[in-house]
Symmetry: C2
Subunit: 323 residues, 2 copies
């Protein structure tokens, strides 16, 4: 059974458990509900597990806490929303140094402050490994809410930055010789303390020309496939924008940086589709307002599947937590 099959089974089981005020349920970056007539709230939950997503030798307590919150904030950004508050459930093995646990909250607090997100509560429990499960609630004006199912053929496919830095950073973090090299500080930071695209997400949410949006957590190949599936369209990938830091690491390690960009995941850039004629002016406005670029990756097509410009298929090869 694949992860997508398991999710389908879960969705089937939960079909009866809906409510009229839940407007977007399982399957988007975040769920959306309506606390009152003129408000929309979004909620997203993400877990970070020691030994699966990080190990204590490649990530400090501060960075693990930051990273755990960052993936949730990225989901909020992808809906066009702004964060309001977070809850943190933290599991840890018997004998864990309390200073390490408090260090996690330093990282959570540092990013929460940047993001203007309150940390409102949580839970502490024993667990076999350090386990963060963070939930973030955000809010968005109804007209600014972006889902992943609105892409149309002819739309420009774009991302908010070059890709592959987080995967390159993971490679560097696991090799003390590389980790000490100041040339690789940028990719290390991309892996350890990613910056969710909150300002860009809100700006893009406010543009009616942005037709679909999600965040890149599992890699461009997998996540673009999900956006295409949700929208019932396909895509041609013309350019894979590779992070220059990832290129530098790949030169040293002899790896293919395009694989990191396509399949590495956890870059937390936004993936969006934009009405073609609106793309250039929107990219210019976003750059001027937030410093964040919009890089064209390709074009949405009526034909299903994801292909390169030369016609070869790009298979999804990102994360499947059941594999």
């Amino acid at each position: 059974m694949t992860e997508d099959e398991l999710v389908a089974g879960i969705r089937e089981r939960l079909r009866g458990v809906t409510a009229t005020r839940v407007l977007v349920g399982i399957g988007d970056d975040a769920a959306v509900w309506q606390p009152s007539r003129s408000n929309r709230s979004v909620i997203t939950t993400d877990a970070l597990v020691e030994g699966v997503h990080f190990t204590r030798d490649v990530m400090s307590a501060h960075d693990a806490g930051w990273r755990a919150l960052a993936s949730n904030l990225s989901d909020v950004a992808a809906m066009g929303a702004r964060p309001v508050l977070a809850t943190v459930a933290l599991g840890f093995p018997a004998g864990t140094d309390p200073a390490w646990l408090l260090g996690c909250y330093d990282g959570i607090a540092a990013l929460a402050e940047r993001a203007r997100c309150a940390v409102a509560g949580g839970d502490l429990t024993r667990a076999p490994a350090i386990t963060f499960a963070i939930t973030v609630v955000g809010e968005v004006r109804p007209s600014n809410l972006k889902r992943r199912d609105g892409a149309r053929p002819g739309d420009v496919v774009a991302v908010t930055g070059p890709l592959g830095a987080s995967a390159a950073g993971l490679r560097v973090a696991g090799d003390p010789g590389l980790a000490a090299d100041p040339r690789f500080a940028g990719v290390l930071a991309a892996f350890r303390t990613p910056e969710p695209r909150l300002r860009a997400g809100r700006r893009l949410g406010a543009s009616r020309h942005v037709r679909a949006m999600m965040d890149l957590s599992d890699g461009l190949s997998t996540d673009l496939g999900r956006l295409c599936a949700a929208s019932g369209v396909g895509a041609v990938v013309e350019t894979v924008p590779i992070h220059p830091g990832a290129r530098r690491v790949a030169e040293v390690t002899g790896q293919d940086p395009e694989r990191w960009a396509l399949d590495g995941g956890e870059d937390f850039e936004l993936l969006l589709t934009v009405a073609k004629r609106a793309f250039e002016p929107l990219a210019a406005r976003l750059k001027a307002a937030t410093g964040t670029p919009l890089l064209q990756v390709g074009t949405m097509t009526a034909e299903l599947g994801i292909r390169r410009a030369d016609g070869t298929a790009i298979p999804p090869s990102g994360w499947d937590h059941l594999r």
Copy 2:
């Protein structure tokens, strides 16, 4: 370092990360925020970990899912709120039978349906043990919100049912001979599929005579201590209402059922304090409307600490996840 000391350290770290719309932060059953002027939302997160809170030999997949959601719904009930939606983060080891995982969602869906709570999203991840982290959002009219810090000397201390059944059920579940005995079905159900006191919680929330409320998740001795500490008062415990099923188990196993009632935890009854002259009519109205009793446990006192009527102290001896 104790759990309470760790929580104090966490609170210190998160002090700067607040928001004007977060009205109740860390330390109550749930956090409270204000999505718009006339609304109050509550949010609570709770984790359930295999090997810590349950093992697969004493709990079915259905019951583990039910139990994981129940503790969150109980926190919502304790605020006087009603649930709106839940998110479910589920971690599981490689090789876990997908049917077991889907069974968890059957249990979650069964309780969510009873509680009229939508399940709106979540996350799946690898983890070293089955790990649920569930977050529930609820809502409450501002005037009905109950916190744990409003108790006053002279208030009646009450609970919504006799205690110790869950701890007795855990004892029974671990012993196949006892588990097969139909006399113990009641305590097994109290352990495996506890019923959060949602209807009672909303009724009690609507009474201005209820001055403080919380749910009993860590045992009467520990939780009454927390309510006293939050309110700056003490309590005399006159009667510990022991569940008749727990008494029957204790007769067979030779254990002290009062210890289960005081320290066992996870009974998910509500603990509240009520203005003295209002107690009898409120108990009668609650019983008539919901079938749920209000059992007097004792009386709040100006003198700090928790004592029995004969003056002997009752020390907190419930759960500390750091021990």
